[in-house]
């Protein structure tokens, strides 16, 4: 169903809707009355099967603007549901009761902006931990100075974790925030009666760096540094999403060579990330040789990146208008040849893993997320694709010329740890396939075209290695950033993590965590 059809139906249902159709960007904005929001969202998600990408809150000069972003899994098209509400009355209906993917978005908006979502049962104590921050501290408001430190509250002795398992002898086993060897800080409470874990509660945002706040009033150049560095294991994907949002605002056509090179780099990063993810999965099952093999490949890909681009994590490459660095054709060919060689060994590793029964025993039927739950939580990336959802922005909402490449989106049905592993392996293969196509058709020309920053707002999106990432950017009249919203795949997938981490034996916890391939840095922002 095309966007104009959807628009028609919407107007028929809700005559109050003020639509704005922009077919050149396959975008449909629908301005709704506040009370229609739940119904429209429900209709869009349940009947039209649009996927909820995220909630973007903006504090205007006189009113709140809430933007519910939806996209389709099947055809190009974006739908923004917009609503406005005067600043003095920040109350909105909650949609997370039926559209569960919106849960954390609403909690975040409540915590940082002070909005109220009527009907949401779990507001508060989310981004800003209640034991440490003053109640009513709303750092995302324009009136709040993000550069100054604030006074903290006294330790809250009343704070209790929200334990919901009611069984004799049940308790919350605490893990973290500093746990295990080299790990990112998360605090898990495993609700258990010993050995069998019934439910897992992750407590996140230990790494909250307030990227969205400190980006305000910055130049786009400085914000680019933030976009690149807030989650650096997938730095290029996020910097690409950011520069694409600028390019969308300014309406720039990026030189073709830059587009191809961007694809090449993005896929190189995806390959490296997936090898690293496989390494962590092997490590979680204590399969030492496989871990080492994957680690060798990861380091070789890091060295390849370092040799190819100058930086092991592809920093400082994407800029609005193209790339910061020119690459020789021969160097690109050489890089792809090396990547192919590594992939060959990676395939061999997969073959060996597939016949290691002790390894498979630990992965199979562990951390299952069925398709329904994955839909409900709006999971993205390899995790969603392992649960039977063929969701890939490169295919559906192509950017940077992805429509020109032939590749397949792997999809597995089981939704267990092994399915996620298989998806990672298959995607790595597809990435190299795309890289080969990119170098085969490498056009000539410049890699950079000048950009004049214009005021406006737009969404930039990429299929980052962990899944769909959305960067919403609004540039003010002064050419500086006035609102920067980051919707990251890990934020979405952390929300669904508890589905996988339910009713399992304690020793499977590291495996579930590793196969879910989550980044705390990407979530905490």
């Amino acid at each position: 169903m095309t966007l104009d059809n959807i628009q028609e139906i919407a107007i028929r249902h809700w005559p109050d809707i003020k639509p704005r159709l922009d077919l050149s960007h396959s975008l449909c904005e629908m301005e709704c009355e506040l009370e229609d929001i739940p119904d429209v969202c429900k209709w869009l998600s349940l009947e039209m099967h649009y996927v909820f990408a995220g909630l973007i809150v903006e504090e205007g000069s006189s009113d709140w603007e809430l933007r519910y972003v939806f996209y389709s899994d099947h055809e190009p098209g974006w739908i923004y549901i917009l609503t406005h509400q005067p600043l003095s009355d920040p109350a909105f209906p909650s949609i997370s009761g039926f559209l569960h993917a919106a849960d954390w978005h609403e909690r975040e908006a409540e915590d940082l902006f002070g909005l109220y979502f009527a009907g949401h049962p779990r507001l508060g104590d989310f981004v800003l931990h209640n034991e440490r921050w003053q109640e009513k501290l709303r750092p995302m408001l324009h009136s709040f100075d993000g550069k100054k430190s604030v006074e903290h509250r006294m330790p809250d002795l009343e704070w209790k974790p929200n334990l919901i398992v009611k069984a004799p002898g049940a308790f919350g086993m605490t893990i973290g925030p500093k746990f295990s060897g080299v790990t990112e800080p998360v605090h898990f409470l495993l609700e258990t009666v010993g050995e069998d874990v019934i439910r897992t509660i992750p407590r996140l945002f230990y790494k909250y760096r307030a990227i969205e706040k400190i980006a305000e009033r910055l130049t786009t150049e400085s914000t680019l540094l933030l976009a690149e560095r807030f989650a650096a294991t997938t730095a290029f994907a996020h910097s690409l999403a950011f520069v694409q949002s600028i390019e969308n605002i300014c309406g720039i056509k990026v030189p073709e060579r830059a587009q191809v090179l961007r694809v090449l780099l993005a896929e190189l990063e995806r390959l490296r990330h997936h090898v690293g993810a496989v390494q962590e999965i092997c490590e979680s099952t204590a399969l030492a040789v496989a871990t080492s093999q994957a680690a060798i490949m990861e380091e070789e890909l890091l060295r390849l990146s370092g040799w190819f681009t100058g930086h092991r994590y592809l920093f400082g490459l994407a800029v609005p208008g193209g790339l910061n660095k020119e690459f020789d054709d021969s160097v690109c060919h050489e890089a792809v040849q090396q990547a192919k060689a590594i992939l060959k060994r990676f395939d061999r590793l997969e073959e060996m893993l597939r016949v290691s029964s002790s390894f498979l025993d630990r992965l199979e039927e562990v951390g299952i997320v069925n398709q329904l739950e994955a839909m409900k939580h709006g999971l993205v990336g390899p995790v969603a694709r392992a649960s039977g959802i063929t969701r890939d922005l490169r295919k559906v909402q192509p950017y940077s010329g992805y429509e020109a490449y032939t590749f397949e989106v792997p999809c597995e049905q089981e939704g267990d740890g092994y399915a996620r592993l298989r998806v990672l392996f298959e995607e790595a293969r597809q990435s190299v396939k795309i890289m080969e196509q990119a170098t085969a058709s490498l056009p000539g020309g410049p890699v950079f075209s000048e950009v004049r920053i214009k005021p406006g707002s737009a969404l930039g999106w990429v299929e980052a290695p962990r899944g769909a990432a959305f960067h919403w950017l609004r540039i003010g009249e002064d050419g500086r950033v006035s609102r920067y919203r980051l919707i990251t795949p890990s934020f979405v997938n952390w929300h669904g993590f508890h589905v996988a981490a339910e009713n399992f034996a304690f020793q499977d916890f590291p495996i579930i965590l590793a196969t879910f391939d989550l980044s705390v840095a990407e979530n905490d922002r």
Partner: protein
Amino acid sequence: MISSDILFQIFFWLLVTGVVTTILIPERWCPNVLAWFGSVAALALLLSAGTVLLGGDTFRFSLWTIPVLGTLELSLDKLSALFLVVTALIFLPVSVFSSGYLKHYLGHYSLKVFNIWYLSLFLSIGLILFASDVLMFLLAWEAMSILSYLLVNFEHRDEEHTAAGYLMLAMGEAGTLAAAIALLLLAIPADSLSFPALKSTSRGMSEGLQWAIFLLSFFGFGVKAGLAPFNAWLPRAHPVAPGNISALLSSVILNLGLYGIVRINMDILPMTMTGPGLITLIIGTVSAFVGILYATTKNDLKVMLAHSSIENIGIVTAGLGAGFVFTATGHTLIATIAFVAAFYHMANHSFYKALLFLSAATVDMKVGVRHLDQLGGLIRRMPLTALCFLAGALSISALPPFNGFVSEWLTLQTMLRSAELSSVSVKVVFALCGAILALTAALAVTCFVKAFAMGFLGISRSAHAEKTTEAARSMTSPMVVLMVFCLLLGVLPTFVISALDGVLKPITQASAVEALTPPFFATSPDHIKLKPEFAAEFRDLGAQVGQEVFPGQGLVVMHRGGEHNPVVFAMSTSYMFPVLIILLAIVFVVVRFGLARDRCVIRNQRWDGGIRRLLPEMTYTATGFSNPVRVIFDTILRPTTQDTQATVEAHFRAAIRRRREEVHIVDRSVITPLRSGALKIAYALAAMHHGRLNAYVGYGLLTLVLSLVLVLTVAG
């Protein structure tokens, strides 16, 4: 020196006076009256039985003659003396403890009644053990059964308590009936009811009759001893009884069941067949395993201790069973060793279980809850109680130098001596039972690590546990006394063994002293009945150290195999104890004055992963700690679990409730089938009652014919 029969009379009249005094004095004096009369009577009993146990004269006197049934007789031999000494040593601290403990009943329940029952119970227990004829024995037994029921059901306003009490009474009565039949079967050939007469005519009894007597007496007394599968009452009765009564129930009354088994099957009718011995061994082992399995998985302190009592009585019974088998096969020496081990363990169990139950009662009274999940951190608030519980836990986990170690060591060693038996199938049974007993010992450690760690260490998991205080001295000092008993029984096993040997010598006609505790300190060479090279080896190992200082018997317990397995095992907790203390002292001195002198010691909080505050609900519970055991033994426990979820707004879960229910294996596999079987028969019989006259006449005719056939067969 007052002779033991006079002391017995003092004991008797003290208790009677106690009962009379109780009636006369006001309610609030009752606890103290109980403590004074109870403990002084216990002292008198201790002296009376103690002199007999350590070699004094036995006595015997007749009370009065009842027409038709014969004379009521009382006597004291060494077997009774052993049980009486243990009883007295338990009653002494428990009575003192009661003075403090009973105060919390003031104004709720009548303490006068309690006093009268308590003192009468003491008296009836004394009379059971003094009884020397069937009638006296059964009368005292009945009195004890009813009084213990009344005391268990003391907090009678609770429905659950009453139900548990009824079950106890009903099962006890069934047992008494079986035991009475067994005793009467013994009495038929003797034509008398006195025990010596029964004993004199028991030889040469037919095998069928022997089997009948064994089965009846083993069932009858096994119910009281709490052996599986007749122990359904025990885990229900213990937790509802007042704390001091639970201690008595476990430490004294269970022993009475064992006394019954021992009196009939060792003394009056010694074993001549291996079958009953093997049954005893297997039932003992199964009881031990089932007991400890449920003890590990239960987290109510008293329920847990009750299940652990089943385990320990099981170990004692296994030892007895091994002894029966060895007696029947003519290995009198090994049989004696097995009985020594069994009696030793029985005494040990009495002491540490009393200690543990008193600690549990203290916790229950001071904290108000006794579920381990709601305790925690008590060591900081009740240090002495915690120390006593720890000592009890170490003892029951069989860790040296405490007493449980010695007797479990002896029991397991005796199992290994089955190598000397000739029958392969018997050997296999011994091997299996030995392995299960070893598993039992390991689970016991798990169980009591859990009990101590979850109860006394860590963070308090309830408001009650946070605000508790140490108990009064009248309650802690008896526990300290029991703790000292536990330590002494552990550190000086050689003395205990020789005392037990005195009990067994008249019964088994063999002495285990030479085999178990060779007199290493003896100076004259002919005294040492050891092979010279062997003795020399032990001398080199230091067994003669302290010869000058301590000119008594050896302090080493030895277990030597026979010809088939000439392995020697030896242990000495007596040496181990000082060495342990010296080593700890050396470590302390080295660390304190050597290593730590020029280092700065930084005391810091426990490492908690960096969370802001470790809350009680984030720490391990007893249920969590024991859950692995629950998972491993799933097939035995067979729980049914049911999860229900409550949600708000369709996707947000407000609660996940998990109900886990399990039926005790004995209830499931014995009691329930029995009950449904009985009901089935009843329904089948009910089908006959349909009111047709012809059918009833037919029944009568059928019965007549059958009776005639039966009579004719028997007569023919």
